[in-house]
Symmetry: C2
Subunit: 258 residues, 2 copies
């Protein structure tokens, strides 16, 4: 027998994939129950407070917020050191415990990322880890992740895949890494997935077409869930022939299978 | 200039994660816009016709179907040979072209899996690949995948992860594979994700606790999106001490990071 848990929970709140720029209705991307849950939360930990407020304004139009936005507590996640692939785990638990204090005091906390699911390809994972260590219940609410949507749309192997995040920025290292992923995908029949910052989409495609075998299938999902979004899967040779140009302001997910 | 595309699209329709068993409201898991899209479709390709009809009955309660269910065309995906990890690509395109015929004739087709996103850890990927080859537009609708929800809930590294599908069923091979995943995860700081059929959940946990290093973190997300669902991340030594028992009828996703 354990005493009833009087602590609040950490709710992993999915965000849209439009980075606030597009006019996709919130109700096309998030479940009503999830929007309602967002409207009730008084405590948030977020990647960026400004865009979190924009998200809550969108929520408010569908499900009025339980309290005015000005009174909602919005704390930001520690920012990773510039250039670091992911934030280092601090020595002590203190910054995470402070962020999770409302849950220890009995209030649910929402964790919100800039896009998609918090903790997947963003800095929220360390807060989730801290919640587990403190015995705070973690609840992942249903919502989209551009990674699995891109895999679904690719038609490549969805039974075995790797997500690599960002590839090296330096062009020689990037080319070498792409060759390595191509060989691995061929050997293991394992889809290799990675992302790029939107303004480098076109350069990434160019490097892919240089570095990959002509028969490798390359899938690009651009602007997932957006009205102008598209997903194409073609052999590298066909991509070359198609002379596709990727937009520089819309997120893209790249997947390949040799 | 290209002629306007008069072909229909292949809409990748997310399903709930409850396998039809639980009483989770559809509107807690799927966006209203997605449910509406489902209600309008007259042509479906599905993993299992019976559960697809059950899904459409749930849709009908939220958004009345555009035509009676009896008149909706529901075709099943070819079943993979028993024991095959994934269906082999047939020599000719014919079975897929037949399934995609409505799109070639101008109608949208919905692709539906038993749970989550079609084409991710299910046999739908080959239909998506065929659609790309036939130049049919593929649109992934926003919805949950248990894989990315489990990674979000784990607090493990969500910037670098691998999904392996099912591990070998034979106990020696499974133990060896788990040791290999443990070592890889430690070396690359890459989260290793896999699934098991629910009635083997308890045995899988047992084998994990035998095969993994005591300091490896093991995350289990059980019954994601369900009211009785939970997600815990603990060191292997703590899992042993916790003497957790996994339910045998609820899907679980396992993730580890050494």
């Amino acid at each position: 027998m354990t005493a009833p848990d009087t602590r609040g929970r950490l709710l992993l709140m999915p965000n849209t994939l439009d980075l606030g720029a597009a006019e996709v209705p919130l109700t096309d991307v998030l479940a009503t129950g999830v929007i309602l849950a967002a409207s009730r939360l008084l405590h948030w930990v977020v990647e960026d407070a400004r865009s979190a407020r924009a998200f809550l304004n969108r929520v408010n139009k569908v499900a009025p917020l339980a309290q005015p936005l000005q009174q909602t507590q919005i704390a930001e996640l520690p920012r990773p050191p510039k250039g670091a692939p992911r934030p280092a785990q601090p020595a002590g638990p203190s910054p995470w415990a402070a962020l999770l204090a409302p849950a220890l005091a009995g209030h649910d906390i929402g964790l919100l990322s800039e896009a998609g699911l918090p903790g997947v390809a963003d800095p929220g994972a360390l807060l989730v880890a801290a919640a587990h260590e403190l015995g705070i219940r973690v609840v992942a609410l249903s919502g989209p992740s551009s990674i699995t949507l891109a895999i679904a749309a690719s038609g490549l192997n969805g039974q075995s895949f790797v997500f690599h995040g960002y590839l090296p920025a330096e062009s020689g290292a990037r080319r070498a890494r792409l060759r390595e992923l191509d060989a691995t995908s061929r050997q293991l029949q394992q889809t290799q997935v990675f992302i790029e910052t939107p303004y480098r989409n076109a350069a990434m495609l160019e490097t892919c077409l240089e570095a990959l075998q002509p028969g490798t299938r390359l899938a690009i999902a651009c602007g997932l869930t957006l009205a102008e979004g598209w997903a194409h899967t073609r052999g590298v040779a066909q991509w070359k022939a198609a002379k596709a140009v990727l937009p520089d302001r819309v997120p893209a997910v790249f997947s390949l299978l040799g």
